[in-house]
């Protein structure tokens, strides 16, 4: 079983690279050659990835959420899977390479450094923790995808303003679609982050008697949550439109990443398990 898991650990980045190359080639060249087959490649990659996650969970007797490199592979899957669903629902196929490269990045880091942990802290075996982590990860995937669409929006916005009608102009969907995709991803991300925060608040006193609400990780997460709630409310009530909403979404993502990085690697927090 160990060798099978090791094989998948090596295979997954390769599959993501191949999928990324096909999506990138299709974006650059256009035409109909890979229009449908690229989706099949992504599906196969995600299928292998789900087998990998399932096998690890069974073999090591805990979900792969106990250290940062396990979380990275779940995050890669979550980003890839969210994009796959988004592509299926909207049938917008021109933005794939920009999202898949993120999944590829997380998977490469994970595959390089992941360890086969059998022994984990008892606190990490809780079901509530599982839901908390999964919803937080999908939430982060949502805001990551939202930021990518936001970034694409800004690039296309700038190109149109500067009369640059090149590859970006020809391949990307309209600004309105990019804005919608960014907003919907942010909203889904926000809802799941809210669930993660609520579960975290319920689970926290049970798991860590010496917890503190002044923990940098909690403050960071709450700040991100406040930021997204302001942006979403303003958009819903029609006060903010277009570029402003997009900039806010990107700002939210940057703060979320900074908050996670700083609290995980620099600050001392009960929230770090590795």
């Amino acid at each position: 079983m160990d060798s099978f898991i090791d094989f998948l650990t090596v295979l997954l980045p390769i599959l993501y690279i191949v999928t990324f190359i096909i999506y990138f080639y299709d974006f650059m060249k256009g035409g109909k050659r890979f229009t449908n087959s690229k989706r099949l490649f992504l599906f196969i990659t995600l299928l292998v990835h789900s087998i990998y996650l399932f096998t690890r969970t069974i073999h090591f007797n805990h979900p792969p959420i106990t250290n940062v490199f396990e979380i990275f592979t779940v995050l890669a899957f979550s980003v890839g899977f969210s994009y796959f669903i988004l592509e299926l629902v909207t049938d917008i196929r021109g933005t794939g390479p920009f999202i898949i490269i993120i999944a590829l990045f997380f998977q490469i880091i994970s595959s390089l450094f992941i360890e086969d942990l059998v022994e984990v802290k008892e606190v990490l075996r809780s079901n509530l923790l599982g839901i908390h982590v999964v919803s937080a990860l999908i939430g982060y995937s949502g805001i990551t995808i939202s930021a990518v669409y936001g970034f694409l929006y800004l690039v296309l916005y700038k190109d149109i303003k500067l009369n640059k009608f090149g590859l970006i102009f020809n391949r990307l969907p309209s600004l309105e679609v990019l804005e919608k995709l960014s907003f919907y991803s942010a909203t889904i991300g926000f809802v799941l982050l809210s669930i993660a925060i609520i579960i975290g608040i319920i689970w926290l006193p049970k798991a860590f008697p010496d917890y503190s609400y002044a923990d940098p990780k909690l403050i960071g997460s709450f700040l991100v949550w406040i930021l997204y709630s302001i942006g979403i409310l303003n958009k819903v009530f029609g006060k903010w439109q277009g570029k402003r909403v997009i900039l806010f979404s990107i700002l939210g993502f940057v703060i979320a990443i900074l908050s996670t990085t700083l609290t995980n690697f620099l600050a001392s927090s009960f929230h770090s398990f590795y």
């Binding site: 296309l156 009608f165 309209s174 600004l175 309105e176």
Partner: protein, 442 residues
């Protein structure tokens, strides 16, 4: 193939001559009536703003291009016209020209698929006026197939190649769907009209027109509502239209005004009123109608003719790159058409027909000969051969008569085609297989 074609187009004649030789439907009808049976047994007349072309199967092999040119110039005299203004095609060249034409690669605007519909309409017109026969119908099918393949298998018709259509393409890069958007067209001239038609064509939700002369705006609104069966476009008085610009997502300006009619301040105040919702300004006027400084406002997209021309040039360059792919399709379909046409020759058909029956006979005899004694097997061979000969005697004699008497090739082609189709001679290279299929079905 005895197909003859003459063409006058942008390749050979200036616009005045093309205009002079343009044929209305009534005139095409006259040309058909005048040429049917005298010049051509069947044919086709295509006349658009860029070309007039006549195709036909001559009733007499002596009829040549000059006769057709003279005939058309008698019907529609154009004194300045010269021999060099015509291109003449014959046989394979004529078919190839028709295939290239319907594929859009002979058009002034490369890949313009309007010609595809115009050729189809012309065929239908010829059909209604009983100018089409067996050959022209088959040629029509092959031409339409070529045109369809060119459009679907290549990018020859992709992208906007006119300024007004490029404006719509650009608008669609900003808004996802036009059916929930509103547009205001400033100026009811020809450019404004074309742009308005494009917007309606793409399903714009609400359309308003403003023009210095209200009557002209009303006339345009009337003509647009007729063509597109939509509710009539709203007319806004030119003197007050600035008060309403915030209500529109798209403003398309095409007036002949010497000065800006919309300033940056006008746009800025409109944006405030519409909560900074995106606004697209398409200035397709020369000189410009909208202050280009408006571009600096957030969520305002302001484009003029120069920027739209960049899109047009890029798309034209892309279309030109697709020409070799279309030429390949034309060659393939040309080969298919002439393969079919050569199969209609009499001598090979008679031979194919006899081979077809002989193979079936031989196979059936072979399968069943063991049921007969050795002596009877010989008789079986003789009797079955005699039956086949008797069955084929009449059709063979009839077909031979066509070649001996030099009768109308049309009639021969029709009969040969029917025979080949009935016995599946074009589908089956192997007559034995066709025989088995027949046996299986019976």
């Amino acid at each position: 193939m005895n197909l003859l074609a003459i063409s006058i187009s942008h390749h050979t004649a200036p616009v005045e001559l093309r205009e002079a030789l343009y044929l209305t439907n009534d005139e095409i009808k006259e040309v058909i009536e005048g040429s049917k049976g005298k010049l051509f047994s069947e044919g086709l007349v295509i006349s658009t703003c860029n070309r007039t072309e006549i195709y036909g199967i001559p009733v007499d092999p002596k009829i040549n291009y000059q006769d057709v040119q003279n005939f058309i110039l008698i019907k529609k005299p154009v004194p300045q016209i010269h021999q060099d203004n015509f291109r003449n095609f014959f046989s394979k060249g004529a078919v190839k020209h028709l295939f290239r034409l319907i594929s859009g690669i002979d058009s002034m605007l490369i890949g313009d698929n309007q010609i595809y519909h115009q050729v189809k309409d012309s065929f239908q017109f010829a059909e209604v006026n009983q100018f089409t026969g067996f050959l022209m119908r088959r040629l029509f099918d092959a031409a339409v197939k070529t045109g369809k393949r060119a459009i679907s298998e290549t990018e020859i018709s992709e992208g906007a190649v006119t300024v007004s259509y490029a404006a719509v393409q650009l608008i669609e890069k900003i808004f996802s769907s036009l059916n929930k958007k509103s547009a205001l067209v400033i100026g009811a001239g020809e450019t404004g009209e074309i742009a308005a038609k494009h917007l309606l064509d793409r399903g714009i939700g609400k359309l308003a027109i403003t023009n210095r002369t209200v009557e002209r705006a009303e006339k345009l609104a009337e003509s647009l509502s007729k063509g597109f069966l939509t509710e009539k476009a709203k007319i806004i008085p030119f003197t007050t239209f600035k008060e309403y610009i915030h209500e529109y997502d798209i403003i398309l300006s095409a007036t002949s005004s010497e000065n800006f009619i919309l300033t940056k301040d006008d746009i800025q105040s409109a944006m405030k009123k519409r909560s900074k919702n995106a606004m697209v300004l398409m200035d397709i006027a020369i000189p410009r109608d909208i202050d280009p400084e408006a571009k600096k406002i957030d969520n305002v997209f302001c484009n003029d003719i120069d920027s739209l021309n960049i899109i047009v040039e890029q798309n034209l360059a892309k279309r030109k790159e697709e020409i070799p792919k279309v030429e390949k399709i034309v060659e393939e379909e040309l080969a298919n058409f002439f393969n079919w046409f050569s199969s209609l020759e009499l001598a090979p058909t008679i031979k194919n027909l006899r081979d077809f029956f002989e193979t079936i006979r031989a196979e059936e005899v072979d399968k069943n000969k063991n049921r007969f004694s050795h002596e009877d097997q010989e008789k079986l061979e003789i009797v079955t051969k005699r039956i086949i000969n008797k069955i084929l005697h009449h059709p063979t004699t009839e077909l031979k008569k066509f070649s001996e008497n030099n009768k109308s090739t049309d009639e021969a082609i029709v009969k040969v085609s029917i025979i080949r189709e009935l016995f599946g001679m074009d589908k089956q290279n192997n007559p034995a297989a066709a025989g088995e299929e027949k046996g299986g079905n019976s």
